[in-house]
Point group: C2
Chain length 265, copies 2
Amino acid sequence: MIIDSHEHLMLPIEMQIEKLNQAGVDKAILFSTVPHPERAKNLAELRGEMNILYKVLAGANNKEANRERMIKNNNELAMQMKKYPERFFGFGAVPLGMSEPETSLWIEENILSNEFKGIGEFTPGSDEQIRQLEVIFQAVNNFSNLPIWVHTFNPVTISGIHILMELCAKYPLVPVIFGHMGGSNWIDVIDFVKSHKYVYLDLSAAFASIATRIAISELPERCLYSSDAPYGEPYLYRQLIEFVSPSQEVANMVLGNNILQLLSE
Amino acid sequence: MIIDSHEHLMLPIEMQIEKLNQAGVDKAILFSTVPHPERAKNLAELRGEMNILYKVLAGANNKEANRERMIKNNNELAMQMKKYPERFFGFGAVPLGMSEPETSLWIEENILSNEFKGIGEFTPGSDEQIRQLEVIFQAVNNFSNLPIWVHTFNPVTISGIHILMELCAKYPLVPVIFGHMGGSNWIDVIDFVKSHKYVYLDLSAAFASIATRIAISELPERCLYSSDAPYGEPYLYRQLIEFVSPSQEVANMVLGNNILQLLSE
């Protein structure tokens, strides 16, 4: 089974399915989203969509508004997914800055009740926000097998990545997916993952084919194919995996078997 | 004619030609290189190769040693290219920090004499190094049509990109290629290039297919296909261009016609 392990909800969702079909992908893991760049027809419209995201990342909204937005986005995601349950899994959003009991309650009410398989995407705008992830690590310990998906590309720096690595070392049984494989810091991230069994590499936003090739050859059982659609194309990212994998067997692991195994643990 | 407009010299050069053939690419523009990641068989060897580059970027070598290295690398590039003249053009390296007359002399002795078509890649390690590019802009005015190729991805920040934009505005007739399209700052870079006629977008190191799609749709005559091999694969980057281009005619412009036109101006 071919699974695109990281896509953001696109509207209408039939566009998402069309892209999966075009790429020969069976299922995708959907994440909620603030902007909808797939709606932009040109640069000006795209800038408008992205400015919505940048405002949220910069903390322009207050805590209460952010939580309401997340509940709304999680519910929208769950609703869209239910139209095509055979094509999608979902990961749901959890706010930072709550206590552990509050976070656990949120997970029950907004993640488990929506039948999401994991939580994220966390896009930390500062090192402080990465430190705040510790409560998430503590809370997921109360549940069985909820992988945490963290964006580790720009604007996350190597200092933020080190904080995340420390959390992984402190909570070694929590499954964590390093989104976009650390960006420019991919060599350090691959090195780290080699000695941390429950840490996974998301291969989207790949800017150097050589990085994808090395990751797959060093950690074939820990690499996860994804496109980050609508930012990346499921078809092109599948081509990338097939092109750089040392064998069809390894490509199959990366293209679906690894994430399936992780979600069923 | 399909031209990969940015590749680094790989050794043996027959490996480079094999990759061109595999991608159906007629010619490549070669740039000299410090590391040879294509030789690395695993993560440890790759780290070794890249550390050589990081030392140079961090200024570990003195000025004299750097210049000698550049002369050696330029000559090696010219020598390798001459084995297969029908498959390659070349761009040559020019050091920063020299006076304008010294820079012009260097261009005569190391660029024109080697029949290189342009200069670069400049990989500025700081805003100060981007400011030093002004001498290069002044010197190329003494020659006809020598495009300048500047790396604008990480570690170059938006502040460095703004300095480069100011230089482009101050010397509007100097052709400049923004390598990797500004990285995460691609929206700002596309916007800038729309109003600056001699500025071009290099499409390698693309981490978001949507960025490549928007660049090509907004500036079809200013986008240049490249792979940045050995970091990227010529085959995959060609697939990307063909996938996101609105028509085969536009794809052909991006895949070769635009750079051919630029080099023959």
